[in-house]
């Protein structure tokens, strides 16, 4: 479905953020992309969706393919038309207009009114909360509802591949679960998903495959079950220290450096 190979992205002609990143999202699968702040997760999504331009970023090497077609450096509108939609980090809903209008904006690239109506019905079906608040101004929704709206808006383009950037950010644990279930449901309806998350436990619980990103490179990848069992992942991303509790007296004042065996 999506195949990124050896991607290099430079901001402002100087800052190298992605250094030869490769990853694959298989058709119908959920792939998790994990990594700390600044690892380059959002930059990867921008590179795929053509949103580097407003950030003065540029792809200097590598390619992005969708179903075998080269879309490296394609225009954002073009990428959406090719069936890739994204839920941006921090939701980014249009706060001043109504829920309905937000959804209509998400369906901007659709050709006919019937198509829009179809997707609209599907989205309201998936998010009954939104159906109740169709006429309210989006900025007054709660955080969870806003996240649902952001996902629904992306679905209005009827994507074959959905990119989600930290959908669990700032949500209460129960809402995180709800978001997770919805992503799984969307996936079951036939949409491939690339899930970017800091909440590794949540992401790996639904993903089939996972990549770990650090300083612009993939340092580890494998089936989600293997990653969940991996000792390093457990320590650095899942917050477990090999089963035994650690005493604070043993905590070193320097940051433990991790070298990944590539």
């Amino acid at each position: 479905m999506l195949s990124v190979s050896n991607l290099e992205v430079v901001y402002d002609d100087v800052v190298l953020v992605l250094r030869g990143l490769s990853l694959e999202v298989p058709a119908g699968g959920i792939v998790a992309l994990l990594g700390a702040n600044g690892a380059g997760k959002t930059t990867l999504l921008r590179a795929v969706t053509g949103l580097l331009v407003p950030h003065r970023g540029r792809i200097t090497k590598g390619t992005v393919h969708v179903d075998g077609e080269d879309i490296t450096g394609a225009d954002a509108a073009d990428v959406v038309r090719r069936g890739i939609a994204q839920v941006m980090e921090g939701r980014r809903i249009f706060a001043e207009i109504t829920v309905d209008e937000n959804l209509r904006a998400g369906g901007y690239t659709r050709r006919s009114r019937t198509e829009v109506r179809e997707s609209y019905a599907r989205v309201l079906d998936l998010f009954p909360v939104l159906a109740q608040r169709r006429k309210s101004v989006a900025g007054y929704l709660s955080g969870g509802e806003q996240q649902m709206l952001a996902i629904g808006r992306a679905l209005m383009a009827r994507p074959r591949l959905l990119l989600l950037d930290e959908p669990s950010l700032g949500l209460a644990p129960r809402l995180v679960e709800q978001v997770r279930d919805i992503i799984a449901q969307i996936n079951q309806q036939g949409t491939s998903v690339l899930l970017v998350e800091q909440n590794a436990a949540m992401a790996l619980s639904i993903a089939g495959y996972g990549y770990v990103l650090e300083t612009g490179k993939v340092v580890k990848d494998g089936p989600a079950a293997d990653l969940l069992a991996d000792a390093d992942i457990r320590e650095f991303y899942l917050g477990a220290a090999g089963g035994q509790r650690r005493s604070f007296t043993e905590v070193k004042t320097y940051r433990r450096k991790k070298r990944w065996s590539a």
């Binding site: 994204q86 207009i97 904006a105 808006r153």
Partner: protein
């Protein structure tokens, strides 16, 4: 009382012109974050194009009005396409300077083509008037008010219900998120420029059909529409229309009662009224009458 109503009518007509120009300012400011100082130049260009259609090519005046709006829209969109598109993502200040540059290019261009002489546009309204209830209404003023109302209504329907209008609103709110929905920012910017230029041209030709006729200085009216836009709130289309009407009424009333009330202040006190009003309202409401405060939501 009659005199008061008569002044109000004159104010409405003047205010309609201001409203058209101010709406053009807002459309561009809202979608691109740039104040288009060339609005006056586009207005003059539109008015002279209307003169050419009406007098030199002898098409019916209604058609000439339509043609001058369409051709001004093309000029606006072309300018956006050729010059401003390269400036996307650059600081707004640089773009504002470019629009000032455009103003200074348009002015000599207009005088080079059409000269400095005072011109009269062939039009069916001229100085004809109708009388009703003891009041005298200029036919041109009635048309100005009517056309402005129709155009403003059409604009609001477009802005509210059409998908391009929605695209313009969301691009104004969050350009990057709009891009992520597949909304082409280029089309939005080009449309805003086309709309603004057409509104300016309409204001221009309506002015030129009036008793003042057509001179190269016709573009100065945009300077008076500028306070209308600020007073209404820079990012509010409804505010621009309201601001235009308020300024127009204030100016006309000040002119009407000048001899009685402001004789101590000289002959042209009405000219400064728009600016005084702007300062006064900004002191009370810094965001203008209908402008939005910068709202930060988390």
């Amino acid at each position: 009382m009659t005199a008061f109503l008569q002044n109000c009518f004159a104010g409405l007509s003047l205010g309609s012109t201001y409203a058209l120009v101010a709406l053009g300012f807002v459309v561009i400011y809202k979608s691109t974050g740039v104040i288009n100082f060339a609005q006056g130049g586009l207005l003059a260009l539109g008015a002279y194009l209307g003169y050419t259609f009406s007098n030199n090519l002898a098409v019916a005046f209604g058609v000439a009005v339509l043609l001058c709006c369409v051709s001004a829209a093309l000029v606006g969109a072309t300018f956006e396409r050729i010059v401003l598109r390269r400036m996307v993502g650059q600081p707004p200040f640089a773009v504002i300077m470019i629009t000032i540059g455009l103003l200074f290019v348009l002015e000599p261009l207009v005088t080079a083509i059409w000269g400095f002489e005072h011109k009269q546009v062939n039009n069916p309204w001229n100085i004809r008037t109708v009388e009703a209830g003891g009041l005298v209404f200029g036919v041109r003023d009635l048309w100005t008010i009517g056309l402005t109302a129709a155009v403003v209504l059409a604009f609001f329907l477009f802005f509210r219900y059409s998908s391009l209008g929605l695209a313009m609103r969301v691009t104004a709110f969050d350009p990057e998120a709009a891009l992520a929905q597949g909304i082409s920012a280029r089309r939005v910017y080009a449309t805003s420029w086309a709309i603004a230029a057409a509104l300016a041209a309409l204001a221009g030709i309506l002015m030129a059909a009036g008793p003042g006729g057509l001179t190269p200085s016709i573009g100065f009216i945009a300077l008076a529409a500028f306070p209308a836009m600020i007073l209404g709130g820079m990012d509010s289309p409804a505010g621009a229309v309201l601001g235009g009407l308020v300024i127009g009424l204030a100016e006309a009333l000040a002119r009407g009662y000048q001899d009685e009330l402001f004789s101590w202040a000289g002959d042209n006190v009405s000219v400064i009224v728009p600016y005084l009003l702007m300062i006064l309202i900004l002191l009370i409401r810094p965001y203008g009458l209908l402008g939005t405060k910068e709202v930060r939501r988390v």
